[in-house]
Amino acid sequence: MSLTPGLHHFLVVSALLFSLGLLGVLARRNLLVIYMGLELMLNAANLALVAFSRFNANLNGQVMVFFIITVAAAEVAVGLALIVALYRKRQSAHVEDLTSLKL
């Protein structure tokens, strides 16, 4: 039995990360924790891309990861700005308080 991790190991970890992130987005109530869930989902995709890149023997996937990291940073900047804007109006960062628009 070999101890080097194969492609499917990476994929299982990445699928787990993605599910954890999704669970965080859907189940948590604090906006900041929800953001962390979103980041986890993006990083799950990053892990899958890097693993595929290694096993496909080309660099497209890794290049894509660099772009995703950059874009994710921009996304967080916008997201945090939105939380601040909301906090100034509501004094709260919880999803229960987002009720002025009915869902």
Binding site: V25, L38, M41, N60, V63, F67, L82, R90, S100, L101
Partner: protein
Amino acid sequence: MTNGDYYQLLKLLAPEWTVVGTVLAILFADLQFWRNRSVAWRSAGAASILSLGFAAAAGLLIWKRAVTADLLGGTLVLSPTSQYVKLALLGLAIVTAWLCTEGEFTKHVGEFVALIALATAGMMFLVSTENLLMVFVALELVSLSLYVMTAFNKRSPRSAEAALKYFLFGGMAAAFTLFGFSFLYGLTGSIHLPTIAAKISWHAGDPLTLVAIVLVVAGFGFKIAAVPFHLWAPDAYEGAPAPAAAFIASGSKVASFFVLGKLLSVGLPGVGGSGAWKAFSPGWLAVVAILATASMIFGNLAALAQSSLRRLLAYSAIAHAGYALLAIIGGSQPALLYYAITYAVTSVGIFGVVAVVENRTGNEDIAGLAGLRERSFLLSVALSVFVLSLAGVPPLAGFFGKFYAFAAAAKLGSSLGYWWLVALALGASCVSLFYYLQVLKQVWVAPVPEGQGKVAGGWVVSILLALLALAVLVTGAAPELLIRFLK
């Protein structure tokens, strides 16, 4: 890859450069020279600069309309069709920018108009690429600009809340799309759509392929607001400033439909499966058919219960996403683009009317339109043209949009396998007539409320609205005028 490639790239991207230059020009002029002017003056100034810059970009596009190019491994793919779609996007952006002159929702108009231009740049890149990385980056440029635009009304708590909901759903959609892209890349070793198409058919029945398809379609389902990924749409439409809502409903939809259609028909043609009656087999056709069904049914039924005009438009947009998905199923790019462009022109027009009326009366309900016929004849006629076009009444553009989309789906396969979807779409269109006519009833039949004076927009907005209504009429009366550019 040689230096010649990059020089070629610079030349071919001239319209995009012009758009980005316009962004900088607007920011510079607003920050440097117009600090002491009134907000109304600054918004008109910013919209003028945007119109000039975009007219120049449109000129470049028309000049190079016959171009075909495929550079840097599908990163930049130009065809006459993509040039015409970009022209439409520029036009929609110009109208949106002028809507900023209706109603003072922020002091930072320069930044707002610059964001419109930035989102337009993203959309232009989005429609001219066949590369997954470029699709993602362009999509995020569009999305991030739109999130910020949605949050721009700092005086209203609803604006920030709408933006946050839009952002959370959009961020999730981006993660879904990316996870799907990573599987497509893993299965085929490429991020170039035609290469993916050539290799993905080896994995046609693979569960991983199906997961990738579902994830990608789910991600784009958020962008086009298809059920069950539509939850953000009513809130974003209601809370956002009118120009932001108009752009979400128009430009963003055109670009997203174009790229979703391209992704599925160019990138994944071999793994469509089937959504035909009694012949379901897994693949993107089946997934898209389910989304279309759910969107048409839910969108139309939920719209029946709305009293807010903007929420009604949001649910009608969800229903229209369902109809447009029929064109994607039918695999007909001209039908899809005709539908998306005429729909976008109509919605930007409706939001124009909404912006003017809300600005003058402060009432956001359908009842706020009561007696509009006496208060502004031009707005009443324009609104009627737009609403009837959405309802699909001939000879307006909406009728032919639906006709082409439904016909494309009906013709697919040998034995009318998609008849169930077309029948459902026709039924749903009939239901939708009810709520569209409710709007027109307020305009033309309901009594004029006491103490309400005339309603009139600025002259530029009035002219633009009249032009949009004319465009809906003309492209409806003579659909060949538009559709021959999209083939």
